[in-house]
Structures are given as C-alpha cells and as structure tokens.
C-alpha cells in the first residue's frame, strides 16, 4: 500500500507544463483541441485543398560575436491576400532564448505561448533554468505533437536560438514538421522567403559580426527575401513598420529598438536606390 502510493507520487511529479496539461486539461493544448474536433470526412488525403488560414512567413537568424540574433518580417498571408501587415513572429522564449515561427499563424502563436509557459513553469518548479539543449528538445516535442495537424496542411516550423551560458556561445536550432531538431551553424532561415534570405546571408554574413552589423545583415536579408517572395513584407516607411529583431547575448534577450531599425532600413533602401540596379 505504502509502496504504491509512493510510486504514484513519483510518477505524478512533473516539471513540464505540457505534460500537466496533457493529463489534466488536454483540451487546452493547441494541437489536441483541433485534431480531436476535426470533421470525420477530413483525413490526410483531403489535404490536397489547403485550408485558407493566415500563414507566417520569413525568419532569419545568425550568430554574431556576442551571441545570436533573430529577425522576422511583419507579414502574414492567406492565399494571395495579405492577412496582416503588423504580425510579430519573433518572441523571447525566456531570458536567454528566442523563437521565430513560420507556417500556420494561429497554431504557431499558441505553440509559442505554450513554450514560453513551459520554460517559466520549469524554472519555477525546479528553481533552475533548463539547459539550452533541454529547451530545444521540448520545442521539438511540441512540434511533433502537431504532426497530425501538419499532415492536414497546418504545419508549424519554428526556428530556435539561444545563448548557451556554460559554453558562452549563441546556438541555432531548426526543426522539421516531425519535430526533428537540427543544430545549425553560422546562420539559418525558415519560411516562404527563406531561399532568398539564405542566398543574401551567404554573401552578407561573416564570422564575428558586431551586434550592429548583424542587425544590418538581418534586415538586408529580409529585404532581399521581400524583393522576390510576395509573402514576405519588406520595411514599410509609409506605415513605419520594421522587422522584429531580437539579439541574445550573455546579458539576455533584448529587442532592438524601432528607432535603430528605422535607421538601418532607411540606409539599405537608400543604398539600393543609389545603386540604380534592377536585380
């Protein structure tokens, strides 16, 4: 009797918020709710006609001298329509990491929120932060949880970046829809404009960029992505909309202020105008 209740306590002890929700409130999980509620006729086979929902687009991330930097454009699209010009797709996950999201915006935003609570919950229960690899694995498990939805055409692809305090370097992780986690070197991009952004990064990125240089490289890579991908939004001087950029270093994740981004975007637009080149 004693032994069973003791082992029950041990089995029920969890530091994971997601596990807790799975046990006590599964309907609150972003992936379970919709999956269980899918109409019967809708199976993986019917994914041929994609559902019309807002999609988040391009995210770029790169390492620099002091850590790692991530930037995302401000557009969400629904088919050929611009669903939002203001959406933010890069978020601080906790004090030392950030994540950017591409794919189905509604599910991605909820997964982001769940991931933020997951990290804070662990920190409060355990009294210590998860390791960077631990955080990356938890995010992978959440993306794996979304696999049934991804098969229906509602995929979410995050990009995760954080400062690894024991080793003192910034690290990048990319994912596939099955939750596979891949550590990336130097820089990486996800989303519809990622090919163009990656091309730009290959020419613009170099080792040991300063933070200011890295901000410029990120904004310019997004500018190039927006130039060729209709689903990626460029800097918008009319509405004063700039990409969302976070830098993560030893002192934590910091959002780059609008004023600096406006100046950087202004310089890039100006230099392109002066060059008078078509492509």
């Amino acid at each position: 009797m004693q032994e069973t209740s003791a082992s029950q306590v041990a089995a029920n002890a969890t530091s994971s918020f997601t596990e807790h929700l799975q046990r006590s409130r599964p309907e609150l999980l972003p992936y379970n709710a919709l999956h269980n509620g899918m109409p019967n006729g809708m199976t993986a086979g019917s994914a041929a006609v994609p559902v019309q929902v807002p999609h988040a687009t391009t995210i770029v991330a790169m390492t620099y001298a002091g850590g790692v930097l991530m930037a995302g454009d401000r557009r969400a699209t629904m088919g050929n329509v611009i669903a939002s010009r203001h959406i933010e797709k890069v978020f601080p996950a906790d004090h030392y990491s950030v994540l950017g999201i591409a794919g189905t915006a509604g599910i991605a935003l909820d997964i982001t929120r769940l991931f933020q609570v997951e990290l804070e919950h662990y920190e409060k229960i355990e009294g210590t932060q998860l390791s960077l690899d631990g955080k990356a694995n938890r995010l992978g498990a959440m993306i794996r949880g979304n696999l049934p939805m991804a098969m229906q055409g509602l995929a979410v692809i995050p990009l995760f970046a954080g400062f690894d305090r024991p080793t003192g370097v910034g690290r990048l992780f990319s994912y596939d829809i099955t939750g596979g986690r891949y550590e990336e070197q130097e820089h990486h991009t996800v989303g519809s404009g990622s090919m163009f952004a990656r091309g730009a990064l290959k020419k613009l990125w170099r080792p040991n960029l300063s933070e200011d240089e890295a901000v410029r490289v990120a904004v310019e890579a997004l500018y190039d992505a927006a130039d060729d991908d209709s689903a990626t939004g460029g800097p918008d001087p009319v509405r004063q909309l700039w990409p969302v950029v976070y830098a993560v270093s030893r002192s934590g994740a910091v959002r780059i202020p609008e004023r600096q981004l406006a100046a950087v975007a202004g310089t890039i637009i100006e230099s392109r105008a002066v060059a008078q080149r078509e492509a």
């Binding site: 609150l28 769940l114 609570v117 804070e120 919950h121 409060k124």
Partner: protein, 235 residues
Amino acid sequence: MTQQFYVSPEQLMKDRADFARKGIARGRSVVVISCRDGIALVAENPSPSLHKIGEIYDKIAFAAVGKYNEFESLRQAGVRYADVRGYSYDREDVTARGLASVYAQSLGAVFTAEQKPFEVELAVAEVGAGPETDHLYRLTFDGSIADEQGFIVMGGQADKVSEAVAAGWRGELDFTGAVRLALAGLVADKEAGALPASAVEVAVLDRGSESSRGTRRAFRRLDDADVVALLAEEN
C-alpha cells in the same frame, strides 16, 4: 472486533488543531513585509536550496512555514494553478485572491477529511502598483484565510517576532529598511545579536520590475552577496 470509542467533534477538531500548531511552532519564523519598493519576504533558513519562499506568478509570491514536503506540494500546486489559469485566460487574470481561496479550500479539505492536518502556515503576497493595492493573505492549517495589512509573521515564536516587526513597521520603508526590520524581528526570540546572511533566505517582489529590469516577473531572489550589499547601504 474492537469497539470504536466516541470522540466528540469538538474534541476531534481541537486535537487536530493542537497537533498542527505544535508542528508549526517547532520551526523557524518567516516575515513578509509590504513597503514602498514592493514586498520583502525574509525567512530564517540555513539551506541555500530548500526554499521556504517561492515565485508563483508575475506579481505573486509564496512563503511558508512547517513541514517541507507539505508546503512544497502546495507551492507546486499553486504554480500549476496559476500557469494553467494564465495560459487559458490571460496573465492579468491570475490574482492572489483566487490562489489564496484555492489554498484555503485544499487546506480545509485536508484538515477535516485526512488522517492528519497539514502542519503548515502559508502567506500569499501580491504586489500592486502602489502600497495600497498590495495584498497579503495568511492561510492557516485549518483553511482559515485572513487578509493582512502591512506585514505577516508566521511560525516559530511568531508573537515575539511580530511584536518587534510591528514596532518598526512604516509604509514608507524601502527594501533595505524592510529587510533590516525583518532581520531585527527574526532575532527577537534569540540571544544572538544578528543573523548572518547565510542563515536567511531573502526574496522581493519588485514594484517597478517593468521599468527597472524590463520584465513583468516581479519576483527576485537575493543571494548572500546581494543581502550583504543591501544591508551595507546607508539609510
């Protein structure tokens, strides 16, 4: 078959209450003080890792005395309650009042239904925009809940410590003053003149965490060096 002796409900409740009170008085005291800068939580606790004070949510902290395993399970339950609530509604919708009433219900249920009551006393503190909107709730082993003003002293020789804190408490204290007052209170029941930083656990709920540290999480644990530095500050 053995004959069950009749015990009157009054006697049963009194026995349980005495049992819990004895357990709580054996431990050392915890002081929670609301002041100008926020809320200071100070516990006499020689262990650097087994905490009596914990973060529950953005503006809410928890302090406890009594049996570690019992209040630790309540703390974890509180963190789960707050995180589920904040995730399913919004972060603003998590309040100390809601949490304290859940605690009151669980303590009350354990007191009447279980083999033995929890030998714990809890404080739930919420920092507001100004000292008048701070909330301090005291929860006792039988599920009673009290809304306190200014400060809470629990555990150990609570009467003596409480007297010392009451004598020095003013609303305009800053964190340095509040921690000093708490430490002065904690030695009121001892011969020793002062407690070293390593013998206490100190945390604060920072009223201006958004402006000073750029985070909505007001809870901050002070390590020994922080406590020494804080106490070294001149008035």
